[in-house]
Homo-oligomer: 346 residues x 4
């Protein structure tokens, strides 16, 4: 049944971020019609394939969707596959494309190629708006939003207010994530018996930490704090379905004065004033405080004995870390309330 | 049925470490008789109270056990309650006391009083052997073993080989632990619905990290590396029953050369050669690699981009982090094979 | 900030059903103001006590709420404590009381007293509407709704269409529930380490199944199928936070003809046509299909080899099994859409 | 290092039952040498592929093992692949083969072909001993043991003492199992995010229960109680790694007198007297009581209101339900103590 409202499409609707988008868009007050593609499930009703989603739309092949008729396209493809479709959609006249892959997150082609590979549409990099509006502003009026990585979202929200104001000499991000962050494809690592009652650090290869979210964190922080040092980033897989917590160890240059916890909470309050989903609080955030919501919760502990700040940042990797942020970006880009379709989650 | 062999007692047998001790001692080839005290369960058969333990002994009141007849007493009391009993047992003539509380871990009375409170038996501090034999040697022949904290065990095993050899300027220990580490007493925090699908950082109070294992880590490392800086230690509660993983971020002084991953693995090999339960390996350890065993597994990643070492250390908090170590200490103190009663776990 | 709309109160807001009610009512389009009582937390902001709830109301003592001003009161008190408050509220003039306790579920005083104890307000029993509208009709216009037990909801939804149409000779309900069903109070049973990696049958005492939901299931089915035999009901605690699944084994009298699976699905379709939240489907329901929603999902398998029906019924114990149903009952009683405030869950 | 003792081989060492066998055999006092085959991992050290196993043996191709030299071969192949290898081994002169597949469990070829397919070695069916010694006696002196299915083990242990003594008219087995029961191969169903916070009934196809363990349960019970009715068997996948619980609903013929709970416990005591691993107890068993052990725990509740017995049976699906039973069968077949290598698990 077509309601009046935005015509949207979800490309790659069978993964976790695609499914979450379908759930959010189905309940979104401004959305009138949803199309959804899936190579694997084309021809089947979404709610039959995923009985947990009460969604009556039918999966189609991507090619069956008319990009020129879309108000918004959400692209939930793997990196390096996404950029080509994004380019086509913009060429066809889709009003807004929100890309959930990594393809338009790094503004620099060389950096992209070092960490991912040849970029399929470098000419669009400049136009892409990095969709972390609380730090980089609203994408209002833009055509292309690069939806941030989940880990960078948590890290940048916590670190940006700090590195903007004081020099830091060392940053180590210890990240914990639920298994949905590793994708819907069954692997030995995501097997219940492997993941359950376990924690496994990952993103280490050849004896060195090397996760692709590292340059994203660094580059984005350097936009307003060029002296930000290289960041050590070590993610760990946890036996939970969703949710993400980062504990970030920050040293200051020799002799610099440590701010108090109240100072840092004040910076959070100042920077995120007026934004609905990001909040610094005195209590340390837990994953349960944010799961099922589009919220990010921040806090800080100041270790005067050791001369170091510890920042905490928690969010739901499928919402504020992916699909929730994508809808928030759509809202802002098109001039709706930031919270439309997102307020009633927990 | 009394077998020939060691006469042992477990004081405080109804907590997790006490229960694990009963399990281990029941299968120990040198143990001939076990007594077990529990205020709460006195008069009941262990296996009736804890159907998961096939243990036929009956809980008694602590006062009913004759300390003078014991070869070994394991004291699993809370800190500040333990020291008094330890003193009595030694006075009564118990051949060996292994104390699982914190009472004899910190060699310095003033430090103990800063972090815990008035020490009930300071005159025994000097005699106590810190029971991490792979680092501090065998307690062979001693009367009193201070069984280390679970977090310090993991941290010191990973850090000792490093700080012995190179100067470090900054140490942040990110620790993850299963809920058994928080004790058997039902609390809001340990309620299934609170802990499940959650991660909660703790040990932060008044806006600062302040967990009692911090000075234990620092003091023990300073025995051979007096310049070790104060350590930031942030533990997190995970939705698993048991197991512990520490990810340790280590900065070197300005201008110092980073060792390679192979170097650090070499140091592990050198220091832990001949010890059965501690092993450095190239692959990053996961909690599942050690749960149910007395093993600690170590690894390292070298972040050349950021100029920093990352150490990994995993163990089972109830085994190598508590009761397994206690049995290992008993074995060594009395001259048995280090692995007696401990080899057949996984 | 007071919006226009219904004035509602939640009595006993600090348990799981109370918290879930707050979450639902906060997002309900017809609700204008919420008051919430908690002896334990009076004076504190809900969202400070429960950081997972973005609720700004302050807990008060029950006595501080003016019952005469309320459109709707939800009473989430323990049984035998609830009836007294319900009586007071109705006397004070509260327009609608939805009682989430067991106090008004059993229509027969003697039966209540056999399974619970002396009834505090038996004179109200007759007026109470058993709030399972899909089976017993809308409470429209009523003053008092007895919100059904979670297990009876699942059992009756699956069994009612069957016992209405065919005679059955034996009914065994195997029920599985998440730990939230056992309440928010920390106990040994709800301790993470006890519940995790475990399943424990309960509701057995003195060698016999004896759970209070048994007579509720029997009595309600007998309203339209007086010959329904006594039911064996065995609940099991599962290591999940929420969700409930019942697998129900139904024998037919000697010689009776087994219906086909399609027949039973047809009965479900017929009986639940027009109701938003209850649906029979060919695929066997899983807890994940309903968690986080107000849905109940039913299915059936017909074992011709053994001559027996197996019914399946899944719901979220805190939503369709408690607070979601309570809001649905409010909607119906006051003439709103059945789904108001409930559609946008998953 | 070769010890003196039995020469054993594990064929199919990379699945869960194979891994568990390796763990058990490594610690078995009578085992002197272990060979282990895995097509997938041939050439690699077991402990490198599975860091949780401290096993130094190297995986080889099955063809590299000399069957004529083996005292015992454990075959952990899929059904219909196993029988061929079993035949070869026996022909080559292997002293004892313990087959963990279903190939020799059903004594009747036609029944095997109905539920599985063409039997690769029907001539060996008669020789195979069904390895549930507590019910069917010791395999002492035999050459071929058919290790029972995990579900049948739990069901038969609980039901045999009942059906031996009284007539029953209806049997419904509600079975719950951890995810390891579904095998090590990554699938959508075993993905952490699918299994976690979920319960899914399975073994239903075309609207009817149809799990292959059903005829195994029926056939084995009919050996001594030919009137045993067909059994309804419905397994459910639970979010735990290992462990199994069956709740079994048993009706008696019209007019028959219900035994008391004490009677049934007496039957358990009588039948399992002298066997180390099977025990009936008054308290209802939980999965945590048996996980990590070779024990099965039984109990009973008598529902006089409904006229029905409820039996409970719990075991660890990888131990008493598979690899532990296999080792127990080896012990008995070769004349060792039943508990050798199995006593020290929990």
């Amino acid at each position: 049944m077509a309601r009046m409202g935005l015509k949207v499409a979800v490309y790659g609707g069978s993964g976790y971020t695609g499914g979450e988008l379908l759930r959010l868009l189905s309940g979104h007050p401004e959305v009138g019609g949803i199309e959804v593609s899936s190579r694997q499930h084309a021809g089947k009703v979404v709610g039959d394939v995923y009985p947990e989603l009460a969604v009556r739309e039918t999966f189609v092949e991507a090619g069956e969707i008319d990009g020129s008729s879309l108000d918004v396209a959400f692209v939930a493809y793997p990196h390096m596959e996404s950029a080509g479709l994004v380019k086509e959609l913009l060429a066809a006249g889709t009003r807004l494309v929100v890309d959930l892959s990594a393809d338009f997150r790094l503004p620099d082609v060389a950096m992209y190629e070092e960490w991912y590979g040849p970029h399929p549409a470098p000419e669009l990099l400049e136009e892409a708006h990095y969709g972390l509006p609380e730090v980089f502003g609203s994408p209002e009026g833009g055509r292309l939003v690069a939806n941030p990585g989940c880990y960078p979202t948590a890290a940048i929200l916590a670190l940006a207010p700090v590195v903007k104001r004081i020099a830091v000499s060392s940053v180590s991000v210890n990240a914990l994530s639920g298994v949905s962050g590793a994708g819907a494809k069954p692997t030995q690592k995501s097997h219940f018996v492997s993941a359950n009652e376990n924690v496994s650090p990952y993103g280490v290869s050849g004896g060195a930490p090397r996760h692709r979210h590292t340059p994203e964190i660094e580059t984005m922080l350097r936009r307003f704090a060029p002296g930000t040092p290289n960041v050590t980033f070590v993610p760990h897989l946890l036996p939970i379905s969703r949710g993400e917590l980062e504990t970030i160890y920050v040293d200051l240059p020799e002799g610099a004065e440590l701010p108090g916890a109240g100072d840092v909470l004040g910076w959070f309050a100042e920077d995120y004033d007026g934004w609905a989903f990001v909040e610094g609080r005195p209590e340390v955030p837990q994953i349960s405080h944010v799961v099922g919501t589009n919220r990010a919760r921040l806090s800080v502990a100041v270790d005067e004995r050791a001369g170091r700040l510890v920042l905490f940042s928690a969010l739901d990797n499928l919402l504020k870390g992916a699909s929730g942020a994508a809808v928030q970006n759509m809202n802002l880009a098109l001039g709706y309330a930031e919270t439309a379709g997102l307020e009633y989650l927990r």
